[in-house]
Subunit: 345 residues, 2 copies
Amino acid sequence: MKEKLIKNNKVSLLQVARAAGVSKMTASRVLRGEGGYSEQTRTLVMQKVDELGYLPNRLATVFAGDKTSTFVGVSIPDLGNEVFAHVLEGIDRKLGSFDYQSVLGLTQHTQEEEESWIRTVLSWQPAGLILTGRYHSKRATEMLRNAGIPIVEIWDLNSSPLDLSVGINHFDSGFDMGRFLIGCGYSKIGYVGTSHDTASAATTRLDGFCKAVEGGGGQVAKQLCLHDTATYYPGYYGTEQLLAAGSGIECIFYQNDAMAFGGLQYCTAQGMRVPQDIGIAGWGDLPIASVLDQRLTSMHVPHLKLGQTAAEMMIARLSNEPVDPCKDIGFRLIPGSTVSHPTNR
Amino acid sequence: MKEKLIKNNKVSLLQVARAAGVSKMTASRVLRGEGGYSEQTRTLVMQKVDELGYLPNRLATVFAGDKTSTFVGVSIPDLGNEVFAHVLEGIDRKLGSFDYQSVLGLTQHTQEEEESWIRTVLSWQPAGLILTGRYHSKRATEMLRNAGIPIVEIWDLNSSPLDLSVGINHFDSGFDMGRFLIGCGYSKIGYVGTSHDTASAATTRLDGFCKAVEGGGGQVAKQLCLHDTATYYPGYYGTEQLLAAGSGIECIFYQNDAMAFGGLQYCTAQGMRVPQDIGIAGWGDLPIASVLDQRLTSMHVPHLKLGQTAAEMMIARLSNEPVDPCKDIGFRLIPGSTVSHPTNR
DNA sequence: TTGAAAGCGATACCAA
DNA sequence: TTGGTATCGCTTTCAA
């Protein structure tokens, strides 16, 4: 065995082996606990590992074994929108419990950001990728197809996913809300949300919503805050804009509960009563809804569970277990008291 | 040059080189743009890269060059607490703009989780680590010292950091709030927060708060929700508990604005007027404060900027630029209208 | 301007 | 139960 100097002062397997007076291979076997060594050897090697503070270089492991890493790339549009923060939390908790790590990519709702992030993250030989959304650039799609690793597209359920998909049908959830509001007797309905360069689930939701409302004889007046984060203040401000422009809006549907709360605050600050003077409907059933004095009309979506499920599907595939490629995580309309129900009218 | 088969069907540098009729080295040089090749060669190689859809294996690069990767490990306690979601967003945006990637670790407020995450992430040869909090287990501290990579401890400003530190002095911020509330004439003051196994910045803040209140002749009644996430409902529920147990609490200080809003909702639901019947003070100046009809008394902390600064310090160190090891990002008390000011009494 | 060889730290495979 | 050798994909180094 030739003597070698370690460039960086890190302790390598070779050092451990020499210190223990065994070969690299023996030390390697002990560390992997794959058996094929005496108890005495094991004790000796482990002792040296401790003494020298040896930390394995997993890069070399991946490299040698031609395996993948324990990285899972996770792309998320932004974290200011609480919805996605919860999804990410669900993903990372579950991945972490199986000793995988999330490599984060905040794509800021653009396909260019996503594409460049995908290129970089793929070069690190990740075990798999979890991507928010179903729309990717052409080059991104190409890279994804060639990557040969599991890919879970989340959020917007995709019946013909690249590989796996979990989420909900946003069109339907929008449609259901639209039909519900029409059923409540509203016809001049507003929508307040945000808007970005890229087609998004929120857009799909709005499409479904419009279809139901218009199909039910109503009209939708849209107010989209460009490039804003879907949170409290844009909801407040968007409502102000919408009502200033609009004529006789009776009810407003928001991109999420945070925006809806912003809108609710604007309306009550203007002296409007909810739901008598105006109806308010949110989406997502976010934690803030639990402390409001009225039950906010909303759409329950299990964000944390969605993230967990995505991670579970990824892990199942990595373990070569059978996985259903499409999982609809479902949603549930919460009637709430911030819109007038027919029975109250 | 011996013929080799690529195990996985990935295209390697060798394939590109062969296709272009040059050696691996020439192809490598072209790809790194380090010069030392003809324009003709460059064009040819790049063309083959495109044709074959070659993606470099950066693991091999790091490995060969004995460099570090472009990974930065980022540990965060949890993402349900909006405060940390914003910090993470600040970090990842900035890191991303310098082509570094965050490898996330949600430590759930425990040192054991942190330690095991540190061990794993170090084995992937990260460029550096950004850790939330200043308290680490003994073994973690040892590993961090030996890692020989930049480490930024954030959130809780550390005057003798392992390497670099950015954050605020939580003790002082608590102290200032305590003094302020005493100055408002309150003496029986409540605190509602969450509590975890590990010493945390919130605990330090509470210590500072108690010191100021008690030093000013007041008393603090604490209500800590164990293992809960610092968000709306625990604020609501904690307030209920506190007021049920307590005797004549005049004002409540919360761990953050989300909890404070939960408390505010509980109080008004009980028919209490704020601030006439009870004072409410939050912390963090979170986005929700922007849509409330009263200005919430709070403590402004630039979360996003804190994250960005942490990333900037990391990048500066990685670029061998001089860095001030401790950066106090500061805070600012927002008097608000949810507590009674002396002038109003 | 180009190429051949050695080696990074681990594991697979075969031999002892 | 143990050890030697080739190898992963790339860069460093030296030679042409």
